[in-house]
Amino acid sequence: MSAIKRLSRRQIMRGMLGSTAVTVALPLLECVLNDSGTAYAASGRALPPCFGTWFFALGLTPKLWVPKQTGNPYTLPDHIKVLEPIQSKINLYSGMQVFLDGKANQNHYSGAQCHMTGIVTRTGSEYDTSLDTVIGNQIGTHTRFRSLEVDCAGDRRATWSARSSNGMNPSEISPLALYTRIFGPEFKDPNAAHFEPDPKVMVHHSVLSAVSEQRRGLLRDVSATDRARLDEYFTSLRELEQQLAVELEKPAPLPACTIPARIAAADDSGALVDQVGLRNRQFGQLIAHALACGQTQLFNVTLSPPFNPLRKSGETSGYHQMTHEEPIDPTLGYQIKCKWYAEQQMAMLRDFVQILDSIREGDGTLLDRSIVYVFTDHGEARLHSMKNYMIFTAGTGAGRMKTGYHLAAEGDAVTRVPLTILQAFAIPASGSYGSESNHVTKPFGEVLV
């Protein structure tokens, strides 16, 4: 956090509305970056870290993906050889599991839920605060967007991000819509020479602030359950106010910030491999530029919903159905088509990570100040297995984590990885994570700096 005392945005707004001659009080000293472009010159404060999740459904082909060596270096097996260009920038975790503690296995739900919340609920209609929300509450409170959620297979329901059990953060499915949302008329280029707050935005912000003032009256008579829901509404409202407040501030220059090419209008539905791959790259570009331009520090990508509809043109059913119907080749010992799908998804992961890594920021890259948490729903989708999950992290979070490792933790709870990430970000009260048998206290210290 900056050593410079920041004026509250409410203070700034009130000052603006009280005067027609607009003067924006800004921490101007922060507006100049150091020579390498990695920190604000005056305070020496590093560019803020970023966190994101990247979910892919149905895991990988059993027995084919686990490297023989652990530690650093290690050799990538052929099944995930496609990750070689980014191997030094990722960690691979193997051997861990999700404990159900006697609860029913909500297929394609319980496993991902545990990865993102640390808990396993009895039904698929329950959830909890997700990892990105926990981290975002600490690091992502001064950006235009709290977070960006996208799904590459055209399903708004595909998301693992939530503030609580009272509803998920829906995914954007249209790259064009996301482009417009981020880089439309409301976007303020941080590198623009001239900045003048828009009076209409000031009024707009004032309108939302006035709604916030109604909070007390409404909360007076509601039940505890509804109070929690209203509280979340008002949290959403505050985030919206924050979004507008950012538009009214002269943003600090960010040399790496450029506006991406406008996305062409396209059919946003369909889950053919080529379509999903294209949207993954388009969303990746938009998210990367949004991060580089200081619009957000958080993102959540789902490559597809957990019942993965990814499909090769000409096949009569999708990847998910294929995991249950394709016989294991008696000679090779695995499902041939499913292996192909899994490798396509790994290629998409590589593409996404490379996009983040392609944005230079001084001596490093955008990926270098980010941590991306990559998880899936089943260890072996064919059996709905909750064991031997494959997990990745990418990026160091601005030097908070080491990369290039394969870490095997046979039989441990998968929650060790989110715990490691929480500790990397120095999130308060992150001495442990998860509940019941998924409660862990031991991070992967080998990769924590």
């Binding site: 708004r156 209409k200 004032s206 309108v207 909360l219 008579d221 509404y233 919206l240 979004q243 499909r311």
Partner: protein, 567 residues
């Protein structure tokens, strides 16, 4: 969207009619709130995108353009999104979209060209605030927007917003737009705030007040905000009397708007937005390479076909709900006719922008009832082939309210699911082998025998008699009764008591947006017996539900907070 004079005029009448009501009721509401502050309690139901749109059009006119606002897909609980709406809040993304939509609507409402119909006064200056003019406007539109009169303090808050914005931007219209935008993102609009008081006769239960009763009634039957007459009945207290309630229920049931309520209910019940693994119409991706007749037009019109079939039978013909499964009357477009393999007369195709024409399937044709319509058959299939399991599961869950458990973990499907195994050419043969697996038998025995009877209809709903060269066997069994083909199955579904009880449960749950209590379930069992005897007719069902006093209650699942605790 072009202006619809009728709807626009209706909106004008609504605003005019509530004018006196809103202004004169404001003080009364303010004092009433103060009196009941320590005992009144509230419950929240999130407005659906459709309810949002219909409310805006009814209040401000049908020519108001509303940007797409379906951001949040909702959560299906106990078979209905409506029940999820009582559980969900508004995510940041959804509220952000609501804010964008509110800004767009507010700008149109404040447009000087709409002043004569919407504002009701002329400002003293185009460049300055006019508090008096704004005050009357806020009170008028606030009543139908919030489904209750605004308190004096609330009106003043919106007038202040108007004043500040108009002065800041030197524009009276900008001031009005700011006030409208503020109302449209307020929780009082985006949520239906149901208010009630503890019922001494039924501990743990809230009795809704008049305005909340009006809103529940209106959104259930019309899927929109209460009109001026209903609000007047709430204000006068008539809606809290048996006679007054009966009068308003009959008035709402006689209105053409009843079809909107019916469509909204069946859109939810039939899971047109998706059911578990099955897609909704917005994510449906049938492969046109396999099914060239399944065009985008056909996909877009399949949902409308089913809703037209339902509305025609239940409302226009006052038919029996159970006959939806055996009716041969429907409506077709050229795109749908291609899938059903029937010709439409050329003259009929030129009937309108979307050329819907009534169509009657003859006894010799294979199509019968809504279960053989493209909407059901395509939503519950794979992209390139049918799925008897999905169809059987959907039929059980949607129409019979029977929950099918998810498949267990650690099941090896591949032993019997080899589509290239020459021993198992048809889906029936493969699934029969699969059902012999003990772990799978329990659930598949209740899904597959029903789903297999639809095998004469491919993923796109087109009729076929063979699969991979082998003749299709469409026989099956339901509740111990054997049948041969979907026509016999349709009759069994029609006559199954679970079909009626499911509709009653869903309709009651949809209206109250919660599961029925034990007391209400007992009442529903009695109602089922009566309707089974007399006929399951929509208006009759709606009337009986909305005249049941329990319909206007909320079981308190959690203790309300005291006033101090909420601060």
């Amino acid at each position: 969207m072009s202006a619809l004079p009728g709807r626009r005029a209706a909106a004008t009448r609504l605003i005019a009619a509530v004018a006196a009501l809103g202004v004169c009721a404001g003080l009364a509401w303010s004092s009433a709130r103060a009196d009941t502050a320590t005992r009144a309690e509230t419950s929240l139901v999130r407005l659906t995108p459709e309810q949002y749109e219909r409310s805006i059009h009814d209040i401000f006119g049908a020519d108001i353009r509303i940007p797409a606002n379906k951001v949040d897909p909702g959560s299906r609980n106990d078979g209905l999104l409506a029940i999820g709406d009582r559980k969900l809040t508004l995510s940041a993304a959804a509220l952000e979209r609501d804010d964008v939509v509110a800004q767009a609507i507010a700008a149109q409402v404040a447009d000087p060209r709409r002043r004569a119909t919407l504002l009701g006064c002329q400002p003293r200056s185009e460049q300055a605030a006019d508090d008096a003019c704004a005050r009357g406007f806020v009170a008028r539109v606030g009543l139908p927007l919030f489904r209750r009169p605004l308190s004096t303090e609330e009106i003043q808050a919106y007038v202040t917003t108007q004043h500040q914005a108009a002065e800041q931007l030197h524009s009276f219209s900008a001031g009005i737009a700011a006030a409208v935008a503020q109302m449209l993102v307020a929780p009082d609009f985006l949520f239906r705030v149901e208010r009630g008081a503890a019922d001494a006769a039924q501990p743990g239960t809230l009795q809704l007040d008049g305005y909340s009763r009006a809103a529940r009634l209106s959104f259930f039957l019309w899927n929109t905000t209460p009109d001026s007459e209903l609000l007047q009945a709430a204000r006068s207290g008539k809606l809290m009397t048996d006679a007054g309630l009966q009068h308003e229920v009959d008035r709402l049931l006689d209105s053409p708007r009843l079809e909107s309520g019916l469509r909204a209910f069946f859109t939810d019940m039939l899971a047109f937005s998706g059911l578990d693994e099955d897609p909704g119409f917005d994510t449906l991706a049938i492969d046109a390479g396999f099914y060239p007749n399944f065009t985008l037009s056909a996909q877009n019109e399949a949902q409308e076909q089913t809703l037209r079939t339902i509305a025609d039978l239940l409302l226009h013909k006052n038919g029996d709900y159970r006959d939806l499964f055996t009716t041969r009357d429907t409506f077709l477009t050229p795109a749908l006719a291609a899938l059903y393999g029937v010709p439409l007369a050329r003259s009929q195709e030129l009937g309108g922008a979307v050329p819907w024409v009534p169509y009657h399937f003859s006894d010799g044709e294979p199509y019968i009832g809504i279960l053989t319509e493209v909407s059901f058959l395509s939503l519950h299939s794979h992209e390139g082939r049918t799925s008897p399991t999905r169809r059987g599961k959907a039929l059980r869950e949607i129409f019979l309210c029977q929950k099918v458990p998810p498949p267990p973990g650690n099941v090896d499907f591949s032993l019997v699911q080899n589509t290239s195994d020459p021993r198992y050419k048809t889906v029936r043969q493969r699934l029969t082998a699969h059902r012999n697996e003990p772990m799978c038998a329990g659930c598949h025995k209740i899904m597959d025998p029903i789903g297999l009877s639809f095998e004469n209809f491919d993923t796109a709903g087109e009729f076929r008699t063979t699969e991979n060269g082998a003749p299709i066997d469409a026989s099956g069994e339901l509740g111990g009764k054997s049948f041969d083909g979907v026509q016999q199955l349709a009759q069994l579904i029609r006559d199954d008591p679970a079909t009626t009880s499911c509709l009653l449960d869903r309709a009651y749950s949809y209206g109250t947006e919660r599961k029925p209590t034990a007391q209400e379930q007992t009442w529903l069992v009695r109602l089922q017996a009566e309707l089974t005897r007399d006929g399951v007719r929509w208006r009759d069902l709606m009337r009986r539900i909305t005249l049941n006093p329990d319909f206007y209650t909320i079981p308190m699942s959690a203790a309300p907070l005291s006033a101090a605790a909420a601060h």
